[in-house]
Amino acid sequence: MNMSKILELQALRKYYATQKAVDDISFSIEKGSIFGLLGPNGAGKTTLLRMITGIFYPDMGEIMLDGKKFDPINDIQLIGYMPEERGLYKKMKIGEQALYLAQLKGLSKTEAMEKIRFWFKKLEMETWWNKKVEDLSKGMSQKLQFVTTVLHEPKLIILDEPFSGLDPLNANLIKDEIFGLAKRGSTIIFSTHRMEQVEEICDHIILMNLGKKVLDGSVSGIKQSFKENKFSIKIQGENINVGSQAFSILEDKGNGYVLKINEGFKSNDILMHFLQQGVTVEAFNEILPSLNEIFIRLVEGSNARTRSFQQVD
């Protein structure tokens, strides 16, 4: 067993009556990493997360948590899960609510109080203690929800769309906390379909579609593997000859071009071509596809949007 992995999934499978929600998924997550779980709506992300958190039992396959077989009853303390469908008891006081949720995770009352004080202080929530959840704005209750998720210092934190409904300021605050938690050794699974956040935060991602794993790798690695050898160049000069064996022009931007390298050539060949003509090159860079583009490319064409029911044998 590889001890550097916090979580390992082996051939995990969960079928519903009309859908193969999770169909033979395997992957593993490094300790202390921030892991992105991506996929269109209905890809099976939530079902997968519910199996990891012990809410659902897989039909087949195995989950290893921290090197041991996952035990849904006792390992619950090791996990902090913030589901997409989340909420709080509206009529309950905030302090009591945080205490209750922490105690449910197995903390003693004194332990829980200590941790709550720490987090409330950190996120400037101390004055909230006797307020009720219904008095909080959406962003505030989201913050509270986050605190209650990470309060018991879980080894594995699972956040399903953690930034939905947060303004940029609060989103940054939570983002910083996520980085901080990862630095202190927690592993974070981050499920979303907001690609720009994934690019910013995650080390490693997998992409799910129709219950299957479509993509698995580091963010930079995936980008590299999906690159189309496109470059953008910004130049100054007149009567430029753009005819070259090395590349073909995709777009003329007036003061520059978007071009694609032909097979067998390198980026230097492009630069050489322009420099030889005495043109001033102001900027030159490779265009890597965004995760968004990769996502759309992989998911489009599949019947993801029309996926509703299928026969399961």
Partner: protein, 446 residues
Amino acid sequence: MNKISLVAKREFLTRVQKKTFLLTTIGVPVLIFAFYAAIIFFTVKSSDNFKIAVSDNANVFNGEIDSKKGSDVIFEFVKDDTTVLKTKLEQKEYDAYLYVPAGYSITSKTIDSLHFRSAKTVGIMTREKIENRISKTLEEKRLMAMNISKTQLDSIQNQKESIIFSSSSGKTENQTKVGLSYGVGFVSGFMIYIILFIYGTMVMRGVVEEKVSRIAEVIISSVKPFQLMMGKIIGIGAVGLLQFIIWGVLIFAIQLLIPVLFPQLFEQMQTQPVQPGMMAAAETAKQSGALSGIMAGLNEINFPLIIGCFIFYFLGGYFMYASLFAAVGSAANEDMQDAQSLLLPIMMPIIFAIVIMMQAVNNPNGSLAVFGSLFPLTSPIVMMARVAHGIPDGVTVFQLILSMVFLILGFFGTTWLAAKIYRTGILMYGKKVTWKELWKWAVKKN
């Protein structure tokens, strides 16, 4: 187990700390009290200055009927015959008349009845007063006719007797006791019926609330669905129990207050305080003629048995049905409307039970009553009606134990079934669920 108690504690505390809890817990008995106080008040009040014309053609009363000072029943002696009396009654000159036929003799063995006719139905209190006073007077006259002097009579009447009622297993069939058993059985069965509805829907609402506020999945990630469900049921059950204890104490306290608040009533009833719940029994007791016999009947009813059974069937019935209500709640979506339609199959056996119970109070050993008191979905309500008649008159020990065992098994059965529905339903959003689907959730594996 620890988590169940955590959940139960929260469910209990959040409900008990609410202002509405205090309001209903204190308010309901006060309301019930006010209701009965109003009934009693009007019963007493309606006898205000009840004027009775007495046409004493046999001169049995000798112009006087034991007249208590300040009594609101007034006897007035007249010399009219029945036709004149009838017209006077119609003209509302009198509220009633008493006609003593000329041949009437207090000492003769031939039963010659006195004719008492009133314009309206006479209330139970007034009737009792009139009956008491006429018969007391007649009794005195008879005794005096047998040469017992007034002083002797007074000394007999002033002697207070203390009778110790003891009951061995061979009981005498006492009309009053049967009537009381009927009342006690009916009231306690009905109370369990109300409990099942009130606290059952409370559980259901709690589950729906958890779903609507979207906290269900957050909680389920730290607690097993079964623990959450059981915690909720236990917590709300504790609220119910507390509420009943408070009600019991309050009703008892109020009952002690009644003689102070209604001295006129006290004059009537003297020894027995009115228990609101006993009114139904009083109604029956009225037929047997003696309101004052209630006390003797009360002593013959095995209250420890009834209270013990009440608590058992209250909790057993509640726990059995609460999980079903929780399952329905878990299947409901945003609004309670969905839940209402799913509720019907749960309400049916409860309503059936109340129908069977009404039969069982009259005939505790009928086959329907026996079936209803053994079948766990109806037994909490029906058995109370049988237990009120006592052991072995109403129910045998064997049947009682069998019914309790069935109820416990029923509780395990419904909870097991409901837990499976609950587990699936609590995480299901935006879909209208039918009973067919609920059944599928219940029978599917894991």
